[in-house]
């Protein structure tokens, strides 16, 4: 029974990583076509990606959006996570519901209501509207990540600070902020990654300048090429690094308890 469970777990991880693994494998394959046996090793698809002005431009736009989105969602998420975990208020469940709400509304419905909203107030679509839309769908994630760190912190530390005469600002500045620092950093990284991957809301709220995810989606709707395999591999590599680093930070934050 135990061996069966263990075997199942590894099989499931195989299922999770196999599709991405084969894409990485074929991104190094020296052939336009997918066929076995493999034709030989090459970096040329990566060179193609890195010399493609259109993709690089999209990447620049993606970063231009991801930095403010990460900042906005980390600050908003950090404040609401503090309210959710540190206060005994009858409005706490309501606050939790409001912050989680954007997660449960289908992205397409959020996207079209943003379009309606922008139309109503005659606001021109731009990267600013992309930032606003993305921050909305990413806020539930950052709030939960930061709250997961705050849940484990010992409230006695804050009580001690208050007993020693610290006012609420000093308590926040010298006790809570240092303790939640790693949680904030983890949330910021994850928000960055989620922003780079977001498609539906970005598609509807973007104007002339379009982030990479939209360019890639329209590319692979029509044809699959090894250049796209190389691009996908780079994105996955980037994500692995960011997610692993942010998890290490989050755990370090929680271990401070």
């Amino acid at each position: 029974m135990e061996r069966l469970l263990r075997g199942y777990v590894w099989a499931l991880y195989g299922f999770v990583y196999l599709p991405v693994g084969v894409v990485v494998l074929f991104s190094f394959n020296d052939s336009d076509m997918i066929a076995f046996p493999l034709s030989g090793f090459t970096f040329k698809w990566y060179a193609d990606v890195l010399s493609d002005g259109r993709l690089l431009g999209g990447l620049g736009t993606t970063f231009l959006v991801a930095f403010p989105v990460a900042a906005i969602t980390t600050i908003l998420g950090g404040l609401s996570a503090l309210a959710l975990t540190r206060y005994r208020s009858k409005f706490r469940a309501l606050l939790g519901l409001v912050v989680i709400l954007p997660f449960f509304v289908p992205r397409m419905i959020l996207a079209v209501s943003e379009v309606t909203f922008l139309h109503e107030i005659s606001f021109t679509k731009s990267l600013l509207t992309v930032c606003i839309g993305q921050s909305l769908v990413i806020l539930p994630f950052t709030t939960i990540i930061i709250a997961s760190v705050l849940y484990r912190l010992d409230p006695a530390l804050e009580e001690a600070a208050s007993d020693l005469g610290a006012n609420s600002w000093k308590r926040f500045r010298y006790v809570q902020l240092p303790l939640m620092k790693f949680g904030l950093m983890a949330a910021c990284f994850i928000a960055f990654v989620l922003s780079t991957a977001e498609y539906t809301v970005s598609f509807f709220t973007s104007g002339r300048e379009q982030p990479l995810s939209i360019l890639v989606a329209s590319d692979f709707r029509f044809h699959l090429s090894p250049t796209l395999y190389a691009l996908a591999s780079l994105i996955v590599l980037f994500n692995i690094v960011v997610v692993v680093v942010s998890e290490l930070l989050r755990r370090r934050g929680a271990a401070h308890a």
Binding site: Y8, V9, P19, Y87, L101, F104, I109, L139, L194
Partner: protein
């Protein structure tokens, strides 16, 4: 008393930025969409005279009702598939590993955060007519011609949806298992219950809230998924979500699109309310809203 007043003020100050943000950029737009759903379209203009025609059109149209039903059905199916696949894995992570726990969880978070675009792309590469699976089958001589039926059908779409949303289910069940009181397991063993009986009568009922929360997340995500049916489902990829997309794009009928969206939202609200009432009083609910 003054200290309590202070705490109340602090809570309000901390909570208000996020609440304001969601109110202005989520609730207001959704409300506006609701208002638009009572408008009508005259050629290329949206005319604000309130009527219920759009709702009559949605509820009187076999096509839209079928699409909504299909979305619900697929949501439930995928929620069930992910539960069956996820439970043993969550159990293993919660009960059988210590050192590897962080690594196994992080390994699940990577695909979750990578976004659906790359994951869907990978499946296209695997399942396509010129894809890896076909290349492999032809190389090994299992088949001489590529099997077209691997991609662009409902089955492929459900497979990829299950793949996409599995991590949410694993995490939800894992949390429920982590906060399970281990003394109950010992008590069950002391009273002579075997593994199966303990699981059936103690572990599973107590982790049911986790399953329900995970199921709700997967259900909502599948109902709202746009890219997977579009890029994997082929001609079967018409969904209620893609219908809304079309009405806001080429078909230009925002009021009708708004009406469909709000019918779907109403159904989702019922599901969320059901699961919330079933789980809030449980150990998981109390842990999530734990008082400090």
């Amino acid at each position: 008393m003054a200290a309590q007043e202070n705490r109340r003020l602090e809570f309000a100050v901390l909570a208000s930025p996020a609440v304001l943000y969601v109110a202005v950029f989520c609730l207001a737009p959704l409300g506006l969409l609701l208002l638009y759903s009572f408008y009508r379209v005259d050629f290329v203009a949206i005319v604000p005279d309130l009527n219920l025609d759009n709702y009559a059109r949605v509820l009187g149209s076999e096509t839209y009702l079928k699409l909504i039903g299909k979305a619900m059905w697929h949501g439930l199916l995928v929620a069930f598939f992910t539960m069956v696949l996820a439970y043993p894995l969550s159990f293993f992570i919660a009960m059988r590993v210590k050192v590897l726990k962080a690594a196994l969880l992080t390994a699940l978070l990577i695909p979750l955060y990578t976004g659906d675009l790359v994951r869907i792309f990978a499946w296209r590469v695997v399942l396509g007519a010129e894809g890896i699976l076909n290349a492999f089958l032809m190389w090994t001589g299992v088949t001489d011609e590529p099997i077209m039926a691997l991609l662009f059908n409902t089955g492929a779409s459900l497979l990829v949806l299950t793949y996409n949303y599995l991590p949410f289910m694993v995490l939800a069940i894992w949390i429920a298992l982590e906060i399970l009181d281990r003394q109950l397991l010992e008590a069950a063993a002391d009273l002579g219950a075997g593994r199966y009986k303990t699981f059936r009568h103690v572990v599973f009922p107590l982790t049911l809230p986790g399953v329900l929360v995970g199921g709700l997340m997967v259900f909502a995500l599948v109902v709202g998924d746009y890219l997977t049916p579009q890029l994997i489902g082929g001609s079967s990829g018409v969904t209620v979500i893609s219908a809304i997309h079309d009405l806001f794009g080429s078909a230009f009928d925002w009021p009708l699109g708004g009406a469909i969206a709000w019918v779907l939202m109403a159904i989702l609200v019922v599901f969320v309310a059901l699961v919330a009432t079933m789980t809030l009083k449980s150990r998981l609910g109390r842990a999530l809203f734990r008082m400090n």
